[in-house]
Symmetry: C2
Subunit: 427 residues, 2 copies
Amino acid sequence: MADLQLADLHGSLTDRALTSMNFLNEVANHYPDAISLAAGRPYEEFYALEDLHSYLDTFTRYLRDELGYDAAAVRRTVFQYGRTKGIVHRLVARNLTIDEGIEVDPEAIVVTVGCQEAMVLVLRALRADPADVLLAVSPAYVGITGAARLLDLPVLPVAGGSDGVDLEDLVAVVKSARAEGLRPRACYVMPDFANPSGLSLDLETRRRLLEVAAEQDLLLLEDNPYGLFPATGVDRVPTLKALDTDRRVIYLGSFAKTALPGARVGYVVADQTVASPDGSTGLLADELSKIKSMVTVNTSAVAQAVIGGKLLESGCSLVAANERERTVYAANLRALTDGLATRFPGGEVTWTVPSGGFFVVVTVPFPVDDALLEKSAQEYGVLWTPMSHFYDGDAPVNALRLSCSAVTPAQIDAGLNRLAALIAGHL
Amino acid sequence: MADLQLADLHGSLTDRALTSMNFLNEVANHYPDAISLAAGRPYEEFYALEDLHSYLDTFTRYLRDELGYDAAAVRRTVFQYGRTKGIVHRLVARNLTIDEGIEVDPEAIVVTVGCQEAMVLVLRALRADPADVLLAVSPAYVGITGAARLLDLPVLPVAGGSDGVDLEDLVAVVKSARAEGLRPRACYVMPDFANPSGLSLDLETRRRLLEVAAEQDLLLLEDNPYGLFPATGVDRVPTLKALDTDRRVIYLGSFAKTALPGARVGYVVADQTVASPDGSTGLLADELSKIKSMVTVNTSAVAQAVIGGKLLESGCSLVAANERERTVYAANLRALTDGLATRFPGGEVTWTVPSGGFFVVVTVPFPVDDALLEKSAQEYGVLWTPMSHFYDGDAPVNALRLSCSAVTPAQIDAGLNRLAALIAGHL
């Protein structure tokens, strides 16, 4: 007899949000020779081991020369327990000013173990009561849904529509939730080249979203992993946080795509004020820090040093640091959408043409499920992601997500041939 | 008006378990020149920046030479997203065999962001229902209490007594909880030189604890951060996990004291089997891995590489790697207890004489509260920890914890003089 029963463990463990990630990883591991148009991993050809050494040295020089630390303090900063909110907060603030035009007090930043921990901290703080719910623009990144599941926080979908968010639906969802006695705490949105939809909000939609959030007294959780990667000829649009004059936006930052995933360093900007019953007022960042002290204590100082060094070596501009990467992603995205146009001229198969990022959604005239993915991997040697993984519920979804970030144009070409063969068999 | 009300955020944020850590950090930050007999940080004089470079190189050589990875795979392992359960699992398993006599399948290990994340994963998995409760030997490490608070998991104290755990009380607590309709999921215990009590379980108590756990069908969460640091002349006692023939023990491992806290690498051994409703059986480690994918995704590969390199450079023996540290800690512990004996010959003040570890508990004939700590810091220049922080509730506690891990014998001497002056004023 087994030691434990799955039914006696937390409900999230049998929830699709958590099992989905596992399933997708398993398929990828089972078919290592398949071409992966599934992985949203960053391009890895520019990684070099010697850079890690250089980043560490650059960061310790910064501690010494710019912050004036003596040798013992430098060692202590990198080796010991340290500041819960992190040790690269000043550099993150500098980066936000330079790349995003966001001016933020470094004390309002919590450096986290990837953006995922930032989501967990924010959702833990906001989920105080069983009536609390999160809104999320649908289809939604599985990481936010999964984090919500861990915290028993229901997620209400808001239609994405063709603008990236349907503001009328947002208002309707808020109102109907409140009518049911629920308390919508925030709405999660990825305004730039969203995962999985590829959609971006234009400037006008961003301004209106901020107005709606103010009218409805709703926080916005802005997640921005892909914003530095617009397609060729596309200008970047200001983030919600840059447009936010009202501390309405909690900004979730990631270095996974702009530096390296292996550091697991992200952050959250939480400059909202929080009033205590005793009349004192603090920052939401400090409340998140208390939670962090019981989740991971600190973000690895060694990993922060690597990210800090990378930031310093590019004058704290990740736009500058990612010139080569941006070119690769833009060329791959173009190869992907051009390749789809060549292979599917008939109109039965359609796809998005995103203005940047890693992801294209392909719509087909039949349901795309996990069994089809298994068949695609086994018989056709190509991996992708069923769009059904980004929706709650079991309704069939006639679409799949393609990613072009961790492949070459030749792999895109071969992968699309295989995908076209698979689809041809189902038309 | 503030953007948010603390009363609208999660209840843990006003709970003593979370605010206590904050308060103690604030006192320490306010009085940086005070001698700290409070910090449980490891001794830092042996840390050297160049070791980080060496550890990274050693680990990447291991990937290449021992695991046979090519250059691209080595880079990918350190820079990219990777295996959720970690990349140093084989080395951790080797370390457990060499130092602890624990034989464990590397697949049953989840490498975590410090031991703290391991606690969060385990408690999240076990807390399925509002009737679930955790038992913890009292006084308890604040990290386990805090993690439980985040997950709305009540903690029932089990008396520590003079043996490190009062087994009769354990049985009584389990029975009374069950009689009330509660479901005790596990009992948390630190059998070696516990934080904060300093107590250790002898071999006989360990065997009986395992028997009681089997009789009561209870999991044990064994936390072992200090086991490698016995006092001079003291032999190490086998861990509960080494004695466990029944997969009754979930083993929580830390590298913070035996390698470096700044890596934030810990792990959990979870070899328990878990049965699914469909009849299949897996490892608890794989369920924890699913949760981890939504908390931190991966433990920093860079940080794991540092710990992996450190393990490799000592033949995977942390006993061997910590010979100098063990000597320092043993000498400091001796200096602390000898120093107390010199200063308090009268019997009004008593203290524990632990067989190892970092902590001594001093009992005084008056309540020790936060106000006294503030006074001690401001007027006497010495920091310590009120034992009240390790108990639930507001009952006054006439004791304080002294730590001797991050100080020199001279600082211990001066710190004790200051403490003696403070106490003299209250006798």
